[in-house]
Symmetry: C2
Subunit: 199 residues, 2 copies
Amino acid sequence: MRRFIVLGHRAITSSGFSLNDLCGSAGRLDVLIRCINSTFFLSHDMRRDIELYLVLQGEPDAPKTISLRGDELKYLNPDERSTGALVRNALMKKMDTADNTEIRSTPGIYISRDGFKDTLEKLSKISTLVYLKEDGGSFDSINPSKDLTFILSDDKNMSEEEESEISKFHPETISLGTISYHSDHCITIVLWNLDNKIM
Amino acid sequence: MRRFIVLGHRAITSSGFSLNDLCGSAGRLDVLIRCINSTFFLSHDMRRDIELYLVLQGEPDAPKTISLRGDELKYLNPDERSTGALVRNALMKKMDTADNTEIRSTPGIYISRDGFKDTLEKLSKISTLVYLKEDGGSFDSINPSKDLTFILSDDKNMSEEEESEISKFHPETISLGTISYHSDHCITIVLWNLDNKIM
């Protein structure tokens, strides 16, 4: 199983955004939506043995985590707008602040009140965490036969507090080279490397 | 210099499409628009020494080729909708059927009446053509210091006629492995390999 966590630093936590302005009106939710595309789509096929956790830290009701599970996903198309509509459906779900039960929105898409720390904690128990970091180690250090969860940020770097939170889980760190890429491109590159077992 | 040609088999050749339905109303123009994102965007930066040629073969006025030049590009954002609007602006340009002068739409975006063959011919004179093909050779066969133009298809495979057209130019062929990826993901993978000189 492969998993990705992407931290959306100011990604909106309500459904009050326009599908016509995913960049401007939704705290760069567009970045996270492109990560959905790169996690699941193959040519005329979908990756099934994979999960994506989008941690939303923006206004007005943070935190929330939307998780997508490849083995259950339906109704997902590769374009940003229709994927944005599925994410908006999840954000329409009424959530009790006291109760952190995960709620199913559409097949394969769930929403919870988990924050970044909760998500790291949950996934560290069932997989090896790998933090993508510019000064990280080489791909060769990763064992592709392990159950791996890769940690990425959106268009903003992790803060000192977030770095410190991540480090508590002692993740492995890897680097994709000296150039810094968009989050969705990082996911494509990591998956291609895993597909071809260079890692 | 790196270049990519992407063949849009049924990509619309007029501006008569909705930005709200790039998948359905525009002959899968969404596939080509995602290729623009993966060709040019780096994290908080853009690739400048690169060009992208989108060959549109759909109704009602084929062929047309939209070319994008990294060293001149302005007003490009990573989201599909705003990129779709720039492509639509180019398709609004009035073009004489007899005259094949390239017309500038916005900075770095040009449109011409070139078809697939014209584009292959033009770029074969100034660069080494490389065809991404599932039964192609290994990355190692490519010399990254050369001026390279990679040839890709959209969501449809090349037809026999198109394969035959490509083969006249005796391109090198490379494969990204046994899995078949979306066109924009292929561009990300190729560029990452070139960045890291594995090719």
